[in-house]
Amino acid sequence: MTQHEDLTAAEEQGLSAFMQRLQASTLDRAPRMPNADVLVLKAQLIRKWEAQRRIRRPIELMEPFEIFATAAAAVLLLFWSVPSAFDWVERLMF
């Protein structure tokens, strides 16, 4: 830390001493964190999910287009096949 002009040397020393004492002071609560193995496992799971999400993303993106294309194909098929179906029914009946 560089000496700061708006603090006197004694004040600067006091601040440093205070921060040192704060660093050395006992914590009123210990950290509650998983051990490294659990964290690694968690990270691997997240990595796996991310990879799966990346793989699924193009499929999910294309889904609306697929639905639209299927619906359009169904309409066209119906449009083309209905007249011939009527012809076929007529031939069958008469």
Binding site: E11, G14, L15, F18, R21, L22, T26, L39
Partner: protein, 163 residues
Amino acid sequence: MLTEHAFGEFYQRHARAVWTYVYRSTNNAADADDIVQEAFLRLFQTDLLPSDEEGLRRYVFRIAGNLMTDRWRKRTREERHGAALSEQSSVSPRDLDVARTFAELKPRDRALLWLAYVEGGSHADIAESLRLGRDSVKVMLSRARLRLRDLLKARGLIEGKLE
């Protein structure tokens, strides 16, 4: 990317220091647990990392700082100052007094002072850690020091009385 073994060792060595920094800055132990866990998870998932231990340490402090900044932005002022230090017999009254004095500062001031005095970070390191401009760090750190000085003076804890 770190190997599992390297990550495990690095975590063992530095998790507590990062936790203490986050805890002293947020004044909330549960937040510190979450933030530190998230910071180390992100570290483990990052592809391009500094190759040296000190660089990695600075990197994880930076992630933790960024996560704290995100939380501060989300929360209201009341929530920020809401958590109080618990009364526990394991902590000496003197330590509790020191912690309480520090807790009176704003969270960002606490983070700035911790990074500057305890971690010995440069203005550039602090700026990156807390997503601030370098010039802003100079000004904000200067103000934080003045606020801490005033607080210590008001409590009669400055000018040799700490020793």
